[in-house]
């Protein structure tokens, strides 16, 4: 009896890689709530979510790419170019909505380009996105002419400035949008044929091909969708910091990979979930906030985050080995 229950529980954990990270997140929240007076407070919990929005959204796109066995080093650079397009076009007199759509479209185009090269020329995503990171960063700097562009337009800053109070909790439109995107991605990955194809391609592209899946089209579609997600990340970024800066988010690609890994998604592809990624992004923000509440300097906060990443990957490796 008890053995059976135990088996079910561990099977659940195995099938749902987000459970481990979720336990870690809850543990972190409990520990910080007990040890500091300022952590557990509706304002602060709202802040933590707001602080996770941009990296969380970047990590959502990153998760899709990593599930196919790829990696995207250019995601944050793409979003930065998006913010610059949006903000600078508005300065030039273009209406906010048009600028917004242009910025997002540029991100989609970059995604399509990366996906096209990866699938068309069969080049490793690491190399393609490394090259694209360099190109897009340079294009951003050229386009920005060495300046940053403060955002005055309401549409562009909308996700962060429009706030509602639920009881005492401050909720921004950006938080709602992010939730919607994560739920949408979760649905698409787990309940649709496309989602099953994404996992299959990541697990074993050859087996996927033999079972009739169009591997190239699936991978290409993932990079295009990821581009769309990065475009929206650009919008989220302007909601958080209403200033498009070509020097921003230089570590955004690695930060997003950190969130994905902490969320239990395997860097080898085919295994993981976007809910785990959401949890992973929250863990990083909870650590930063909680350790600051405890009066700990940022360098030690970085040490803590780094250790967690290694532990998370070790857990993933460990569980995979045991699976076989």
């Amino acid at each position: 009896m008890s053995t059976k229950t135990k088996g079910n529980v561990s099977e659940f954990v195995l099938r749902t890689p987000a459970v481990g990270p979720a336990i870690a997140l809850v543990a972190a929240v409990v520990v910080f709530s007990l040890t500091t007076n300022t952590f557990l407070d509706s304002d602060n919990l709202s802040l933590i979510v707001q602080q996770s929005l941009v990296v969380g959204t970047l990590a959502l796109g990153q998760t899709l790419v990593i599930l196919t066995g790829g990696i995207d080093l250019a995601n944050a650079a793409t979003a930065v170019l998006g913010t610059l397009l949006m903000a600078k076009l508005v300065v030039g007199g273009v209406p906010g909505t048009v600028a917004l759509v242009t910025g997002i479209a540029a991100a989609v185009a970059i995604g399509a380009l990366i996906g096209g090269i990866v699938t068309g020329a069969s080049l490793p995503p690491f190399i393609v996105t490394l090259g694209m990171l360099t190109i897009v960063t340079a294009v951003s700097r050229i386009y920005a002419e060495g300046r940053s562009y403060p955002v005055t337009d309401d549409t562009l800053a909308f996700l962060g400035t429009r706030q509602y109070l639920f009881g005492h909790v401050e909720v921004t439109v950006g938080m709602g949008l992010a939730l919607l995107m994560f739920v949408g991605a979760w649905y698409a990955l787990t309940k649709t044929a496309w989602g099953k194809h994404v996992y299959a391609v990541g697990n074993d592209p050859e087996a996927a091909r033999l079972s009739g899946i169009n591997v190239r089209r699936t991978v290409l579609s993932v990079y295009v969708v990821a581009g769309l997600v990065y475009g929206i990340a650009a919008w989220q970024a302007l909601g958080r910091v209403p200033n498009a800066d070509p020097n921003a988010f230089q570590m955004g690609n690695l930060d997003s990979i950190t969130a994905v890994v902490l969320g239990g998604t395997s860097l080898f592809g085919g295994r993981g979930s976007v809910i785990g990624t959401l949890v992973g992004a929250l863990i990083v923000a909870v650590l930063r906030s909680g350790l600051t509440q405890a009066g700990i300097d940022s360098l030690y906060q970085d040490v803590a985050t780094g250790v967690l990443v290694i532990v998370a990957v070790a857990v993933d490796r460990f569980s995979r080995r045991k699976q076989r």
């Binding site: 200033n243 909680g290 509440q293 700990i296």
Partner: protein, 339 residues
């Protein structure tokens, strides 16, 4: 069953590690209240620098820590991950306000990027001081403690002019980052000091280096390729001066060219002593930090706010003094340098 159980243990290990890491949190004091006006009377000051890596900010942080300890205050030092990490600085500001600090000192990566977070902090009664770099507009913060970079640039320019002793300048300029506030002030100040207008034909070339030694060396190599008869070089900071010197020395031109710089880091002063470049204009991050912490402590005790721009000064450091320019030698420089 056994193998599956170990997966559960894996997840447990992750959790345990997380808890162990956060155990450090237990060292914080448990005051009986939340927010400002700490019951135990301990004054809390937050510091948010551009990065944790630049020696200038390390000097700033260490001096702030020392002053805080002296005044019986607690300092929490946070930083962006890189120059331009506005999102990181905003999160740091938010977390410090939530923590209940009485004052925040910040060196903004971007003069406008963090204004929203500063406004929210001030609305909650936190004193916000800018160190080293001004915000735009300046009155977004309560007060600024910084080098007057226009004056520092002017000193460098005036020294180079005097050092040329009447010779016509043929100038190369190793600039910082395009569009940087501090970078442009130093550039403009230098031109005012040497008495040249922007676009003058005596400015033989200029190049952005981002204040990076390797980029400066490369820029200088390229500039020397097309301008062989230069006699004066402006540099945004000491790493740029070192890069410029390396390129000049490789061509055997170092002795004929007068190189000026700004910063006052210990390595820079040593370079001046070694004769690599003629002059550096020292700034005083320690003063910025000390005066900032003192102002924060004063505010917490008496409610008195500092205001406006507080110039922490700059001093010309050289072993070859020129008439009409007040300067100190490198012996004094090595005693007062930072980093």
């Amino acid at each position: 069953m056994g193998r599956r159980g170990s997966i559960g243990r894996g997840a447990a290990a992750l959790t345990a590690a997380a808890i162990a890491l956060m155990g450090t949190a237990c060292t914080s004091q448990k005051a009986g209240d939340t927010g400002r006006g700490n019951a135990d009377g301990k004054i809390k000051v937050g510091l948010v620098t551009k990065t944790d890596s630049n020696p200038f900010f390390v000097a700033l942080r260490d001096a702030a820590r020392a002053q805080a300890t002296k005044d019986g205050a607690e300092l929490i030092a946070l930083a962006g991950k890189f120059d331009g990490d506005n999102e990181g600085q905003v999160a740091a500001l938010e977390n410090l306000v939530q923590q209940g600090v009485d004052a925040i000192m910040i060196t903004p990566s971007n003069s406008t990027g963090i204004l929203g977070a500063i406004k929210k902090a001030r609305e909650k009664g936190v004193l916000v001081l800018a160190l080293d770099t001004e915000t735009e507009p300046k009155d977004a913060v309560d007060a600024t403690f910084a080098t007057d970079n226009l004056a520092a640039g002017r000193s460098q320019g005036a020294y180079v002019k005097a050092g040329l002793a009447g010779k016509e300048p043929k100038l190369l300029m190793l600039d910082g980052a395009p569009g940087g506030t501090v970078d442009e002030m130093r550039h403009r100040g230098f031109l005012a000091g040497i008495g040249l207008a922007e676009g003058d034909s005596k400015i033989v070339g200029k190049e952005s280096t981002n204040g990076d030694q390797n980029k400066a060396q490369q820029a200088m190599e390229n500039l020397l390729q097309r301008a062989t008869d230069v006699n004066a070089v402006y540099t945004i900071n000491e790493p740029a001066a070192r890069g410029g010197y390396a390129a000049l020395a490789a061509r055997g031109r170092a002795a004929q060219v007068l190189v000026g710089s700004i910063d006052g880091g210990c390595q820079g002063v040593q370079d001046v002593k070694d004769g690599k470049y003629a002059v550096t204009v020292m700034q005083f991050p320690k003063k910025m930090a000390e005066q900032g912490v003192q102002a924060a402590v004063e505010f917490t005790k008496s409610g008195k706010k500092p205001s406006g721009f507080v110039d922490t000064g700059s001093v010309v450091i050289t072993d070859k003094p020129v008439p009409g320019i007040e300067s100190k030698d490198t012996a004094w420089g090595l005693q007062n340098c930072w980093g």
